[in-house]
């Protein structure tokens, strides 16, 4: 293992990692927002919208991110919608992630028995109060495992960004392997950096999950 090589190209990987995280986080945040809106629409069974959301979820869950990205980055410009590569990346993640988040939030909401809502309503609470003080707090904690799994999943999915010429970690690794043939070192750095990004999230997730399991909740 050529440590000199590793040291020399470490900064390049760092830069790539920052790009990956930046786009990843933005994508995840927007995915959460999209997911919350979709989950609310489905929970309250809003006519028309709930069908649109249903179709959206099926479309985005049954197609790979790479194909979605190709379509947004190479296809859409042909009908006039031109986007920068990194915006594409965020948009793709948000499109894909939104449906996964929606499912996670919806299963949390649906896990709360309707009679909890009725009990809140019997006390005179209106819909907003009921959601805010009774339903959402419980639903959130039920959704956490799926939510964390989704975050990790979305961060992993960022590895396809090199396909639309974003200089992320995969791009850097492939470049270096192509140029210098230092396969072992390049791959080593690749693995290390992904571990740096993903391990903390995974560990935080396990801790959160364990905490919530102790908090238990049976009424």
């Amino acid at each position: 293992m050529n440590w000199e090589f590793i040291m020399k190209y470490l900064p390049l990987y760092e830069k790539a990692a920052v790009l990956t995280v930046r786009i990843g986080v933005m994508g995840v945040v927007i995915a959460i927002i999209v997911g919350l809106i979709c989950a609310a629409i489905q929970y309250y069974k809003i006519p028309v919208l709930k069908h649109i959301v249903g179709i959206y979820i099926e479309l985005s869950r049954n197609t790979p991110l790479l194909v979605q990205l190709f379509f947004i980055y190479y296809g859409l410009p042909k009908i006039g919608i031109r986007t920068q590569a990194d915006i594409c990346g965020v948009a793709g993640l948000a499109f894909l992630g939104g449906s996964y988040m929606a499912e996670a939030f919806r299963s949390g909401l649906e896990a709360i028995e309707p009679i909890q809502a009725e009990s809140a309503m019997s006390l005179g609470m209106n819909r907003y109060q009921m959601m805010r003080y009774v339903i959402l707090p419980q639903a959130m904690s039920i959704s956490i495992p799926a939510f964390i799994a989704n975050v990790i999943f979305l961060l992993k999915e960022t590895s396809v960004f090199s396909a639309i010429s974003l200089m992320d970690l995969m791009f850097t690794a492939k470049d270096l392997i192509g140029m210098y043939y230092k396969t072992t070192e390049s791959l080593f750095l690749l693995v290390v950096f992904y571990l740096i990004i993903l391990l903390p999230v995974s560990i935080v997730g396990s801790i959160l999950e364990r905490r919530l399991r102790y908090a238990g909740f049976g009424a």
Binding site: F70, G75, M170, I177
Partner: protein
């Protein structure tokens, strides 16, 4: 109405080539799943062995496979195997190896989860009825495990099919690569082909995965 580049789809053998590309993806997924299922069950059983060393090694393997993006795993096998073992793997072979490794890891976890979700008193009540350990497993435990396992495995197949889109990056000629070729070939005659073609690819994947996921949902409901 702007030119959507759709007529390229109808030209010559383009559609067939695209579907053929998807066929590569489906073939790789199918092979990988079929091999992963028995290996995964084996691994799941091995995990229950008391030997701490095998447990630790398996644990590390599982966690690594699950936390690394599939793209990284593909790179590791495709580029790394040449360096480490001197192998000259084709993109397709490397893909199958990675998918089997990944599928086995996922499968073993599913098996472990399905087994542990069977309530303890299933074992107890069947033994109280006089069934032997083997009979208990064969008639009571395994059918129930399969009922939980199968919908989840089908979900795994869908995920694999989607992940095959990545193998384009290690040179395998699958549907996205074919799409690129078609677009390039028709650069002059249909400048907007990219829109139509990638839309078609999008729909092809959807048509491949959606029925399978519906099947999984149906089975899950039925076997609840």
């Amino acid at each position: 109405m702007p030119d959507l580049g759709l007529e390229v789809l109808l030209k010559g053998k383009n559609m067939i080539r695209l579907i053929g590309g998807l066929g590569v993806a489906l073939r790789i997924s199918l092979i990988s799943v079929l091999v992963s299922i028995p290996l995964g069950i084996l691994l799941g059983a091995l995990m229950n062995w008391k030997n701490p060393i095998t447990k630790a090694i398996l644990r590390v393997y599982l966690e690594f496979i699950r936390i690394m993006p599939q793209m990284v795993l593909l790179f590791l096998v495709y580029f790394g195997s040449t360096r480490a073992f001197g192998w000259e793997l084709s993109g397709e072979t490397a893909s199958i190896i990675v998918f089997i490794l990944w599928g086995t890891a996922e499968m073993s976890d599913l098996v472990r989860g399905a087994l542990s979700s069977i309530p303890k008193h299933q074992y107890e009540s069947s033994e109280a009825l006089g069934l032997s350990k083997v009979q208990t497993y064969w008639y009571i435990i395994i059918p129930q495990t399969l009922r939980r396992l199968i919908p989840l495995s089908i979900n795994l197949i869908t995920r694999m099919i989607k992940t095959t889109s990545l193998i384009l990056m290690i040179g395998v000629v699958e549907v996205l690569k074919v799409a690129q070729q078609i677009i390039e070939a028709n650069r002059m005659s249909s400048p907007n082909a990219a829109f139509g073609i990638y839309l078609a690819v999008f729909l092809l994947y959807f048509l491949a995965c959606w029925p399978i996921s519906l099947l999984a949902k149906y089975l899950e409901k039925r076997w609840k």
